[in-house]
């Protein structure tokens, strides 16, 4: 378990997440892609903290912030899904081509 293997794992998670975020039509699947990206980002932050930071606590703090971002992303995402669904009866990104009135 070296820093290189950890970062390659994080890169793989970020790559898969980017694929999901760019390719999925459904809002919730798109959010899953974003979550996977943040998963990789958290892993990279913890890896740097554990192997290069010399035990400085800021690496863990960064990860906590990413976790908070994740919670916010999910809560706001679901709220927006509900709003869009109410307005357009749709849960697909294609339905948002006409947001402006």
């Amino acid at each position: 378990m070296t820093l290189a293997t950890l970062l390659i794992l994080a890169a793989a998670l970020i790559g898969i997440g980017l694929y999901g975020a760019f390719s999925q039509q459904s809002f919730v699947m798109l959010m899953m892609g974003l979550e996977l990206i943040l998963n990789g980002a958290m892993l990279a932050a913890v890896s740097f903290w554990a192997l290069t930071g010399g035990g400085a606590p800021e690496g863990q703090l960064l990860t906590i912030i990413v976790m908070a971002v994740m919670a916010i992303e999910m809560a706001m995402g679901f709220a927006l899904v509900i709003s869009v669904y109410r307005a357009k009866q749709a849960d697909m990104t294609e339905a948002l081509d006409g947001l402006k009135q």
């Binding site: 740097f48 192997l51 703090l61 912030i65």
Partner: protein, 202 residues
């Protein structure tokens, strides 16, 4: 190869496989559980890296979050049980290209970048040091995260409320049909009997 390495490689394989399966499985609910498995594997790796608080927090947070996500899947998505083949993607080639380029670029940084080697010291208690950091120097950051989460809660309630800015948020919207393009689900046909009509106009 030590036991820690073996556990790491098993969990790394699980994390990548489950993360990939999220976007190719036929069932939306299964997709959310695959994402949960991916997060749990990363949580185990965090525990291996001595980030005890973060690993455990990730377990609890993701377990709850993926349950909520599975519920939303059942509420909003078709095919929750994965009974039919299903693929809902657009611009797939571009997406694959972006993913591969990101992986190659970040992997190159991982392989060829030079990082200092300063592992966590032996005597360090990671949870205690994080607690001192959070409740001392980084109190403002921690409290900002709390206030941001509160603002998120208020915004979520506002966005999902039935009461919109200009009256009823549901006004004009109709439930979806039972079949694509069909009539709204809860409205009986206009010419049906009339027995359900209420006559309040006296």
């Amino acid at each position: 190869m030590s036991a820690v390495d073996i556990v790491f490689f098993i969990n790394a394989a699980i994390a990548i496989y489950a993360g990939w399966r999220v976007f190719v499985t036929d069932s939306m609910v299964r997709a959310s559980f695959f994402l949960l498995v991916s997060f749990l594997a990363v949580g185990v790796i965090m525990l291996l890296l001595a980030a005890i608080y973060l690993g455990v927090a990730l377990f609890f947070m993701m377990a709850v979050e993926m349950m909520v996500m599975a519920l939303f899947m059942v509420m909003f998505m078709m095919n929750p049980a994965g009974l039919n083949p299903m693929k809902m993607v657009h611009q797939e080639k571009v997406a694959i290209g972006v993913g591969v380029v990101a992986f190659v670029a970040l992997g190159a940084v991982a392989l060829f970048g030079e990082f200092p080697s300063r592992p966590v010291p032996e005597g360090l208690e990671p949870v205690v040091s994080l607690g001192h950091e959070l409740l001392g120097d980084s109190m403002l950051v921690f409290e900002s995260a709390g206030v941001t989460l509160l603002a998120t809660m208020i915004a979520v309630v506002m966005l999902t409320s039935h009461k919109g800015r200009y009256g009823d948020a549901n006004e004009g919207s109709q439930p979806p049909g039972l079949e694509p393009g069909g009539d709204p689900a809860d409205k009986p046909p206009e010419d049906e009997g009339g027995g359900h009509h209420h006559h309040h106009c006296h």
